[in-house]
Symmetry: C2
Subunit: 665 residues, 2 copies
Amino acid sequence: MSTTDPMMKNYPLSYQAVDKETEAESHYILSQHNSNGYTVGAPPKKRLTEEFSHTFREFFFHDDPLYQYKDKSKIRQCWLGLQNFFPILEWGRRYNLKMFKGDLIAGLTIASLCIPQDIGYAKLANVDPRYGLYTSFVPPLIYALMGSSRDVAIGPVAVVSLLLAEFLRREFDPTKNKEDYLRLAFTATFFAGLTQSILGFLRLGFIVEYLSHAAIVGFTAGAAITIGLQQLKGLLGITKFTTHTDIVSVLHAVFSNAHHGWNWQTMLMGTVFLAYLLTTKYVALKNPKIFWLAASAPLISVIVSTFFVYITRADKDGVKIVGHITKGVNPPSLDLIYWSGPHLKKGIKIGVIAGFVGLTESIAIGRTFAAIKDYQLDGNKEMLASGVMNIAGSFTSCIVATGSFSRSAVNFMSGCHTTVPNIVMALIVLLTLAVITPLFKYTPNAIISAIIINAVIGLVDIGAAYKIYKVDKMDFLACMGSFLGVVFKSVEVGLLISVTLSLAKILLQITRPKIFVLGNLPRTTTFRNIEQYPEAIRIPGILVIKVDSAIYFANATYIREKILRWLRDEEDLNRHHGLARTQHLILEMSAVTDIDTSGVHELEELFKILKRLYIQLELVNPGPLVMDKLLSANFIDLLREEHLFVTVGDTVAHCFAKSKDQEEA
Amino acid sequence: MSTTDPMMKNYPLSYQAVDKETEAESHYILSQHNSNGYTVGAPPKKRLTEEFSHTFREFFFHDDPLYQYKDKSKIRQCWLGLQNFFPILEWGRRYNLKMFKGDLIAGLTIASLCIPQDIGYAKLANVDPRYGLYTSFVPPLIYALMGSSRDVAIGPVAVVSLLLAEFLRREFDPTKNKEDYLRLAFTATFFAGLTQSILGFLRLGFIVEYLSHAAIVGFTAGAAITIGLQQLKGLLGITKFTTHTDIVSVLHAVFSNAHHGWNWQTMLMGTVFLAYLLTTKYVALKNPKIFWLAASAPLISVIVSTFFVYITRADKDGVKIVGHITKGVNPPSLDLIYWSGPHLKKGIKIGVIAGFVGLTESIAIGRTFAAIKDYQLDGNKEMLASGVMNIAGSFTSCIVATGSFSRSAVNFMSGCHTTVPNIVMALIVLLTLAVITPLFKYTPNAIISAIIINAVIGLVDIGAAYKIYKVDKMDFLACMGSFLGVVFKSVEVGLLISVTLSLAKILLQITRPKIFVLGNLPRTTTFRNIEQYPEAIRIPGILVIKVDSAIYFANATYIREKILRWLRDEEDLNRHHGLARTQHLILEMSAVTDIDTSGVHELEELFKILKRLYIQLELVNPGPLVMDKLLSANFIDLLREEHLFVTVGDTVAHCFAKSKDQEEA
């Protein structure tokens, strides 16, 4: 083959150079087989136990949790181990008055927020208001000792309460079977805690990551809308409401009650205070310095409206009020949990789901603030803390507690430093339970509803949804799917859609991996995707294909077929332009991370089919795992080692040299 | 930085050369930013509809089914379209006498095999023997017109019969509620067919590929053992048998019957004929020329043993016989199918599962022989053919039919050329049904059992299991899991384990992707995995990391943490050896096929963390999809374009140049 060959005129410079032997050496060394004598290595054969232990370690202990214990004394190791379970031991020694001042203010602020929210979320979950308050006492105390996030505020949250209500209601009527309903709620709380503990203890934290960010954004926004719709009952003073949560049923219930069901005094009060809450929130967002205006608004609303109702006795005109809340701290509930019988199974199911959803929310919030303040959050540790606090909660009449988005944000804004605000908040709630619950008797439900609408409105993150839309259309589909599922059907359907779409995305990606043709960047030995680099040039007679995925049973057939299709198109093109037919198919395997028996089988198929077409298969740079398996399966024997290369450049040079030999012979 | 720098002594030659400016140009062009001025390209922005339609096309029509219609006339296109649904139109015109001779012999052979097998598989499915024979009449005829495999022999098969029996028995007792049981069987058959048709029509063939090869090997072997164990009833002449299929229950039933339950005449006859069948099979395997010895053995066994029983009237001594089989061709069964009511739902469920399992087996067999004979099998087309034949079957008193492994193998060995043997077989079965069924009255059950054991023994593929063990230990785990699940529990559990382990493998791979450090191959600009290439050298001050996976929500956090862990280890090493700290982290992104919002977020996190550590992040060759998303998410603005490179070599050269500038400044 000479440079006057008409087919050569489009060849990249560096390959033309191969033919001019004098110049070849001043360029990249091309003519030698395997650049500078390097050969594709295979890792030393591992024994079965080694292989399993390596996979196991990489899966569960990839974060190398024992790193900090290295080269330390036994006592020091014990101390570090204890600190691992109780982070308070670590930061407690550095704690000072200045930090406490910040924490105290933050604690008081979130306490003022949490009390009305607790009442509202307890109502949302169809339990008495006091159970919401109980949930803001025991769990936050435990989290303060074991949690590693400095910003998360613990307590009952909207989404989990809604979820509990939906699932518990299917088993018991919350008004007719009040006690059974409550017992099942505690059972679910226990198993939510157990699920979270087990996940944390077995280091299965990664499971939470199977819910994609996009699905969570959609699901949370949907839940927020659903919760907001539920509040219309309180805000409009409707007596006859639906038990369904989908938007169609709720709006139907709202408008069919429009004539007699709405109470104008309630509406007026609700609207005025909602406007006040939203205005202060909006103002504070614009000017973070006066965020206390927004933070204090709920407490002020509660005090003013309660006083107003008490003075005017508006409750006699049909304004619904919270009513009597029994005084006293958390009663024990260990013996209320269903430890056996048919309800145990239901409790486990609800608990597992609530536990997962709670974790997802809690960890997402924790990570957000950890990222802002620049510290690392250990997902497994958080899960353990979350689990222990919920188990303890289930023994002390609490429903599922988790990190609250709205209160955590306020906690962060108020300048918290550690988990101490949770302790402060718990003590205030204790004081409330012990002394002042009777004062909430005249608090109008409309105000609680307004406070909840104000809290959940922040969960509808349109900015995040827009960013998802901009970056990844498929992600946006998952986001909208979850959102519409929750809003138009139920929390369960929304969750199911989230999980399904999240997993489907992973499966889609593995089933239809990226396979593309590489071209040479002229004057270099670099080969790049011809679709991405318009300068890249195909080399006639040689088809270079890159596979960007593990080759598994789920995609092996597709990969083979796609490669053959590229070849077919190439041959069509060659015929059309009157060029010589393809003689070498170079498979760039750098990105093939793994191969299984189906993959090897399809590779053998490909080799055989190509052989019949008089096309030689050349493999470039298979990774260690792949080399190991190709060797075990005797594929390298079939291919012969001389068709294995370190770089595409080497391979192309080899193909040229071979063609030249053949022509000379 | 000069070459006398002690840190430089381990530097790869080509990078030392950068410093000697006179030599630099005679080497690869290193000092220039982005080799020869190439920049990382981003694809033109696609509209939402374009993006969806591209994904859709790639997913469902990746095989470009309209390719053959290109540049053809309308009539030709119609004709090709018709051929697409009825491949017989295509090969029928080339059909000749020589082909027919081979097909006739193959057809007669598989007919002689299928009749006793049909009786056995009908018994296995707990229906009368004649339904097995019906199933070998209608479905094979339809497959002959629509099927594209030249070797598959259609009829009732062992695994599907076992599965039907297990699921149907849960709804109705096969002896007490005989008619309901049969009606549900036809309902299941209809929905199996419908499922297969829909999968084929919607081109969802890839779903079948979610069952990994390894899981299928294990599942099939387990089913074969279970079926073999069930035959002990017939082979030993046991009257009281268990309805469970797990090995423990069956062996318990067998041995608790050892004293009175076993019938020695049955045992003797069964053992002798089983030995005959296995011996001929073994001999034929060693010497394929006399494979007719094995192919004729079942028919000879049936004839000899039936004659023997008829003469000796051994049935009066307790030798169980097949008994009377009603004469006549398939009666219609359309009105027996449950079109409504509570059983419809059960029928759909059983049908969907049976349809999937049938397809998996059929396509696996078809592909095996297609590979040997070198033709392509279109999975979607096969599904449609399978679906239509089962729907037709359900209207004509057939149970689920699919490709039989043992009969297809014999078909292949007998020299079949097309689907005609299925027609020949169907006609012989028709003749049998119309005329000679009464002759089977005295056929001993033991012989049927022996024939089934002989047929399913081939499904236990120890060779394949060993190859899986050798190549991929994780695959072997999936294989053994499915196997043990079927053998020790039930078909359902085995299937569930297969699917779960198959999916778990995919998820595992995406959750813990491969991330490794690259080193320079001395005297080249190539960078390769330092674990695989012992010659590869790390460059002090620069850490090159390659990520081999899409960066998704399921692994984004892991990838960031793992990269930071590599960095930590590198810094430990640097400190230990008194080397300068890392200044550049190069992320080779060639193999990152996609990134989602979580992935971009973690990349931003990584960038910020590195910035605080005074380490510059450099990205190498992100793919078109990734570039598109990084641009949309404004990450490229954050990173700045000058930190984007086409090759690792360029990047390293740039880092060197920068360090040099800083030193000079």
